[in-house]
């Protein structure tokens, strides 16, 4: 319990402290030390609670509850102020509605809004806490140097680094709070904090575009927030005495029909936060934020809150048609976002779309919600978080070093920044290749969907979707490994500090693959067992084979040494035309041209313009259908 409280409160304290730290070196020290503390605490959490199942804590509620309402009101006022300042009336409206609803809730059910236990921890929370505690704090450490460079590259942006780190740490606290809370009111409170953090960080550079995108994110998340609070009111109304805001009780409630409507509403909130279609646009827009923000909020942690809540509610969804259609929203998002990613050459945009796609896949698993799918979903959360964080941070380094985050400009990275290229390679491999994590989860998902009625839809989606995924990842990977000649190495001379988090995260990606049987048996399987009474298991033989593949992959590079000496080096084939080593040749009209190898983007087929609208339309229909179905079930 102390650990839990520590994890929630400590980052807030650090956040406040950082408001007053202006020197980079000092800030670096503070951030590193607190990161160590937070990381250490989350590991301690793992060791302390991993084998205990769900543990509940009755935390002080009255005072905290009141404080939360006050803060919420303050935030609502802040949003209204900002909305007025930037003339975004929709945000004002939504914030006002939320405030009214919160007040209404407090007034109407004030006496009965009690959860038996406000805090709890189980294996799933531990996994989330580890992601937040380890990856989150690594990203925070990385950010210090990144932001310093960022401001050197962008002198036009007002230097608000103290504020930046305040928000980052406040956000970490909120995330911990969110995954440890058993009280839906609390969850809602933390949920709103993450929304605000995201809003503030997206708008960090204060450019017009950033502000616009920040508001877009805000509006969409507030929309989810409204749904969330409505769900709480409904729950409170249905069970006024016992306080239907106790998460554990809600989930355990046998009366699925009654819980289903609130669950679907909360699921909707999850959809907005996880940026599934049709709300995916806010996440794309969020890419204007500095890269660590994208890594932290918009891929490895905050958006995971959306799928976290979906996975939490998946026992409710399981077997219902409403859940099935939420799953389909995820499925369609997975397919469409993966397809759109093909047409993107901006690395962050690709990462964003791939994030959306994977969140969609997780939502698909959660919505359908059988035990094997929940198992797969959690596995996806883990692997996605590590690999994606690595890719975002790597992209950040590359962008700061080479001045571009266009994938085409990463051509020959293996020559220019070998270490970085290898890390990116591992990150990308982590996203789509056997035996890395994401693929294991997809595989598990296929095996699980086969056993679900109408699971064929999802299998089809997965079959197409993963093929599409191969395309855009492999071509990026290809760019990295292209051996260009006459290119200069630019790795050196960069700050040393950001590398440490990168190495550690790379290590985590590999460790996650090597240790995934352990992760599965120690954390995920017990959780699934606790919820469903059955659990998913990997075949031992397959695990062995995958470890063998991994070992092969690790050993194969040694073969490089074999080839080194013997071969004669020839220039590339240029149709017989003489060319220079960097592929310049004498072209028509007397021009000297350079052969360009560029990836395919197939915009005609997979362009955003082509796919987004239909995908979004389908998803809107599916969301509406899920509401109707939930209503019908009642």
């Amino acid at each position: 319990m102390q650990t839990l409280l520590f994890l929630i409160v400590f980052p807030i304290l650090v956040a406040c402290l950082l408001l007053f730290v202006k020197r980079t070196t000092l800030r670096y020290a503070v951030v590193t030390l607190s990161a160590l503390a937070i990381g250490g605490a989350s590991i301690y959490l793992l060791m302390r609670y991993a084998f205990e199942g769900a543990v509940y804590f009755a935390a002080p509620s009255e005072a905290v509850g009141l404080a939360m309402v006050i803060i919420e009101m303050g935030l609502a006022l802040f949003i209204i102020y900002m909305g007025a300042k930037f003339r975004n009336y929709l945000a004002i409206l939504l914030a006002a509605i939320q405030a009214v609803l919160v007040v209404y809730l407090e007034m109407t059910f004030s006496g009965s809004l009690h959860a038996a236990n406000n805090l709890f921890i189980d294996q799933f929370s531990i996994i989330m806490a580890l992601i937040i505690g380890l990856i989150g704090s690594l990203i925070a450490v990385y950010s210090v140097r990144y932001m310093e460079t960022y401001h050197r590259h962008h002198p036009e942006v007002r230097d608000r680094q103290t504020f930046f780190f305040f928000v980052i740490f406040a956000f970490l606290a909120a995330m911990f709070g969110l995954v440890f809370s058993n009280n839906l009111m609390w969850i809602f409170f933390f949920w709103e904090i993450t929304t605000i953090s995201s809003f503030l960080l997206i708008g960090y550079s204060e450019t017009e575009e950033a502000t616009k995108n920040a508001f877009r994110a805000l509006v969409m998340n507030l929309l989810g927030g409204v749904a969330f609070i409505v769900a709480i009111i409904l729950l409170a109304a249905t069970e006024p005495t016992s306080g239907g805001i106790d998460l554990a009780r809600v989930l355990a409630s046998g009366d699925t029909a009654i819980v289903l409507i609130p669950a679907v509403l909360i699921g909707f909130a999850g959809i907005t936060k996880a940026a599934l279609m049709p709300f995916s646009s806010w996440l794309l827009g969020a890419m204007v934020a500095p890269t660590p923000v994208s890594a932290l909020l918009h891929s490895s942690t905050m958006v995971k809150a959306g799928v976290y809540i979906l996975v939490r509610f998946s026992p409710v969804f399981a077997g219902t048609f409403a859940g099935f259609s939420i799953g389909l929203v995820g499925g369609v998002t997975f397919l469409v976002a993966s397809a759109i990613a093909i047409s993107r050459s901006d690395a962050k945009s690709v990462l964003a779309y791939s994030t959306i796609a994977n969140l969609g896949l997780i939502a698909a698993c959660a919505g359908v919600g059988t035990y094997m799918l929940v198992w797969a979903a959690i596995l996806l959360i883990v692997f996605h978080a590590v690999a994606k964080a690595l890719l975002f941070l790597g992209t950040g380094v590359i962008e700061q070093r080479t001045g571009s985050r266009n994938i085409e400009d990463m051509e020959g990275l293996i020559v220019r920044m070998p270490k970085m290229a290898v890390m990116m390679f591992i990150g990308i491999a982590g996203m789509f290749l056997a035996p890395f994590g994401m693929l294991i989860s997809k595989w598990a998902a296929i095996e699980a969907f086969v056993q679900v009625p109408f699971g064929l839809v999802f299998i089809a989606i997965l079959a197409y979707g993963s093929a599409v995924t191969v395309f855009f990842w492999a071509k990026w990977m290809g760019k990295l490994v292209t051996v260009t000649r006459n290119t200069e190495r630019v790795e050196k001379g960069f700050f040393k500090e950001p590398w440490a988090p990168l190495y550690i995260i790379t290590g985590l990606v590999i460790a996650a693959v090597l240790l995934f049987p352990v992760i599965s048996s120690a954390l995920i399987e017990p959780y699934v067992l606790a919820i469903y009474g059955v659990t998913a298991l990997m075949e031992q033989a397959n695990v062995a084979i995958m470890l063998l593949m991994m070992a092969l992959l690790l050993v194969l590079p040694v073969s490089f040494l074999l080839f080194k000496r013997t071969a004669r080096h020839l220039p590339a084939y240029m149709g017989g035309r003489p060319s220079t080593p960097d592929l310049q040749f004498a072209g028509s009209l007397g021009l000297t041209r350079e052969a360009q190898t560029r990836n395919y983007y197939l915009t005609e087929y997979f362009g955003e313009a082509k796919l987004f609208r239909p995908g979004a339309a389908v998803c809107i229909v599916l969301i509406l259908v899920s509401w109707v179905l939930a209503g019908v079930a009642l």
């Binding site: 050459s345 085409e408 240029m574 149709g575 017989g576 035309r577 060319s579 040749f585 072209g587 028509s588 009209l589 021009l591 041209r593 350079e594 052969a595 360009q596 190898t597 560029r598 990836n599 395919y600 983007y601 197939l602 915009t603 005609e604």
Partner: protein, 359 residues
């Protein structure tokens, strides 16, 4: 945003038997820019007139190109004959017609094969070239050379085809035509071939005319222009109508050539039946003095030999404008918008013959 790929296409490229180079600028696989550049076969043979007497120059003219070698010899000889006012015997006209049409047959069959190959239809390539061999056998039996015939000369022809051989050729035409029609059916009706050709590299009638397109490239766009209509050699006697298609795409150009194969077979058949008796050549004395633009319809279109004599054994100028050169501007217009996979198809659809283009 699609990124631009730049590929050096050629001069050595397996799909194009002859060296031509293109700098292809692609977006994905769509061609946005393709500038052809030539010059890999420019030998400078026009200046060989300084070394060769006008009668010997026929050998050089033949080797302007090894595919329609006979046609070049014919065009050259006709030009000199026109300048020197030589009347060529009728039999020579007929023999020239037969060999011309044989050349056209072998050239078109060769092209059909290469064209099939450019679409990745290997079997069709093999089949076309297998049929072509029968034409080459006839050419070898009647002239002594498979691809370079060496039988046309100023003032007539050097070799005769005996009555027996003519009869044999005549007999062989029917089965040969049947085989060609089977082959043509594949080109004209096969779905995969149509899928590759239709709507590709479209060039309208007006555009084709304005750009100066020649031969099947023009006729595929509906420009009814075929120099055999002017009735040189025996075409005037035999009668001739150009084969025209209107779609202006690669399919139309292919169809024109397929149908010209049938037409050529028909012409040969009639030339054999109407073959007059008589001598093969007339004696050529003196030296040409004067100028003439000699024009002949080659498989690829109209060729122009501008010959100018100055009263000596050596010509003052020979300038050869070949159909491919005239078809390069249309080609430049056809390429953008095509797919990379279609580049060889489009390029081949004008039946480029770089050898004579550059001389």
């Amino acid at each position: 945003m699609p990124e631009r790929i730049i590929v050096p296409f050629g001069p050595q490229h397996p799909v194009l038997p002859e060296p031509i180079h293109l700098d292809l600028v692609l977006e994905d696989e769509t061609v946005v820019e393709a500038v052809p550049s030539i010059g890999y076969i420019h030998r400078g043979l026009e200046r060989l007139i300084e070394k060769r007497e006008y009668t010997e120059y026929v050998y050089v003219a033949e080797r302007i190109c090894g595919i329609c070698s006979f046609m070049h010899a014919l065009c050259y000889s006709q030009g000199i004959e026109e300048i020197m006012k030589i009347e060529v015997p009728d039999r020579a006209h007929y023999l020239r017609t037969i060999w011309s049409e044989c050349s056209r047959l072998h050239s078109h069959l060769l092209w059909l094969g290469l064209f099939a190959d450019s679409m990745g239809f290997e079997n069709l390539f093999m089949r076309s070239w297998q049929l072509r061999e029968s034409v080459l056998d006839v050419l070898e039996d009647t002239t002594g050379g498979r691809v370079i015939q060496g039988t046309c000369k100023v003032g007539g022809v050097r070799r005769d085809i005996g009555a027996e051989k003519l009869a044999e050729m005549h007999r062989a035409l029917d089965p040969f035509e049947a085989q060609c029609r089977d082959l043509g059916d594949v080109f004209l009706n096969d779905e995969t071939v149509k899928y590759r050709l239709q709507g590709l590299g479209v060039i309208s009638k007006d555009e084709a005319y304005a750009l100066g397109a020649a031969g099947p490239t023009a006729r595929g766009s509906g420009v009814a222009m075929d120099h055999r209509e002017t009735g040189y050699a025996a075409y005037g006697d035999l009668g001739f109508k150009p084969v025209v298609e209107t779609a202006g795409d690669c399919y139309a150009r292919c169809a024109v050539r397929v149908k010209e194969v049938y037409a050529s077979i028909d012409l040969i058949r009639r030339a054999i039946s109407e073959m007059p008796e008589g001598s093969l050549d007339v004696k050529v004395k003196g030296a040409p003095d004067g100028e003439y633009f000699s024009r002949v319809e080659q498989p690829r279109g109209e060729v122009v030999h501008y010959l100018r004599g100055n009263g000596t054994k050596h010509l003052a100028r020979a300038r050869i404008r070949t159909p491919t050169l005239a078809n390069i501007p249309p080609l430049v217009k056809m390429l953008p918008g095509a797919q990379l996979a279609d580049v060889p198809v489009v390029v081949l659809s004008i039946d480029p013959c770089i050898s004579c283009t550059e001389r």
